[in-house]
Symmetry: C2
Subunit: 233 residues, 2 copies
DNA sequence: ACCGGTCGGTGATGGGGATCACACATCGCT
DNA sequence: AGCGATGTGTGATCCCCATCACCGACCGGT
């Protein structure tokens, strides 16, 4: 609820890789202007409706982006991995942060002040393009979110879609039909816009239909197509 | 509505104003690369999931942006007025158009090919910044849309919010509590994610509570605060 | 071991709105 | 006028899911 921005750990951290996939010259310029710090789990980088101070670029870790309705319910927009800038839209448009960003694990995050971002964008069209590409992806992803959440509406469909989406992200794992379950039922509910209980019941139903198996925090999806068949509904 | 349908689609149109609020030098560069044409009502500039060809910049008129769910239902994202670029996210990210754009009245629209857009952005950081600002606004508006549509959910709340939003856009009219109703109930339903019948019933209810009055296609909202009181819900 | 907190399962209940099914109005067209 | 197309009003029905309520499991701290 009333979480506050953690300003505790301000230690400078050397980051090995060049800045994402930017040309070295520009990456250096960005690197010089940015301040990279380390955050513990649960740190709030910025909160919805705050005035923008600058952008955060995730160098390592995972950050949860969420928005909060007037009734107090929460919707998780997406989980952001390393390489992505956060809060760009707010900084560029000068309006307030459009969501709340909270680390989900210890993370290293670069901070770039508003002035520096705009200055660098004006200076390097290439950098501006990079920034724009990321916002574009965010925009596209948000549009998909809208389509999936509003125009579907059986909750089981949304859950199935979420699980299949997780499968797609798991190109890293050796076992491609396996998913590490890093979210609580409540959080899953916040991702698909439904209640904790519904998620519980749906997952139980999926198990009963042998669409998924769960051992500990590991989900196994033996038949991906069966799950996908729920989506066309 | 159809007084005189302009069907000379490929006719070049001289546009009086400089390009939105861009510096003249850049505006000229953009103007040279762009092709401005005239469209009748109902023209589809691009459709969801098409491969991007370029961006469209609305010079005059109104364009409806919508997305379409797997079940065939439609959600109207927003109505875009003059001055706004369309389809930028798709072009910049190289993915498909994220929505469908359709003119709602005879409009003049500039087209800028993908290559030219990227070239101009790379060349003029200022232009890239302008583009980015517009996407940022789109992104913010989409986030608001998500919050309003998913985290609220009484339909009456959404409708009230829509009406109040229309009031805010009407700074032009002499009578500030008056709204021209340019959408059918079906389209209103598509804006708030509910069915035509629900919109009908809700509007009837609002009238019965004297929250709105309707004569022809003109809505009068005598007590804005009363409507707003429905929103906190 | 005791306890407080977070998490997960599951029943019962109720309501909001989608959906179906009409009827009526309006408008443009031939 | 006559006719289709389109938009609107309203009743009846039904079902999904939010919500309330409660219980058991697990985990860390003292």
């Amino acid at each position: 609820m009333a979480t506050q921005v953690v300003n505790a750990v301000q230690k400078l951290i050397p980051v090995d890789k060049t800045f994402c996939d930017l040309p070295p010259a520009i990456a250096d310029a960005v690197e010089q202007a940015a301040l990279t710090t380390s955050y513990p789990t649960g740190a709030v980088l910025f909160a919805e409706a705050q005035a923008p101070r600058g952008v955060f670029i995730v160098r390592r870790g995972r950050v949860k982006l969420s928005i909060c309705g007037s009734d107090g319910r929460t919707l998780i927009l997406r989980i952001v991995n390393a390489g992505c800038p956060l809060g760009v839209a707010a900084v560029v448009s000068g309006r307030q942060y459009e969501a709340t960003a909270e680390t989900q694990e210890p993370s290293e995050i670069s901070f770039l002040r508003q002035n520096d971002l705009v200055r660098l964008m004006r200076l390097h069209g290439e950098f501006a393009l990079w920034v724009t590409q990321h916002i574009s992806q965010d925009y596209a992803s948000t549009c998909r979110e809208i389509r999936d959440l509003i125009l579907s509406d059986s909750a089981s469909e949304k859950l199935a879609r979420l699980l299949v989406g997780w499968l797609d992200q798991n190109t890293t794992s050796k076992n491609p039909s396996q998913v590490k379950l890093a979210l609580t039922h409540e959080e899953i509910g916040q991702m698909i816009g439904s209640s904790r209980e519904t998620v519980s019941r749906l997952l139980a139903g999926f198990k009963k239909q042998h669409l998924i198996q769960q051992t500990g925090s590991t989900l196994v999806i033996p038949d991906r197509l069966a799950l996908e068949s729920l989506i066309t509904a």
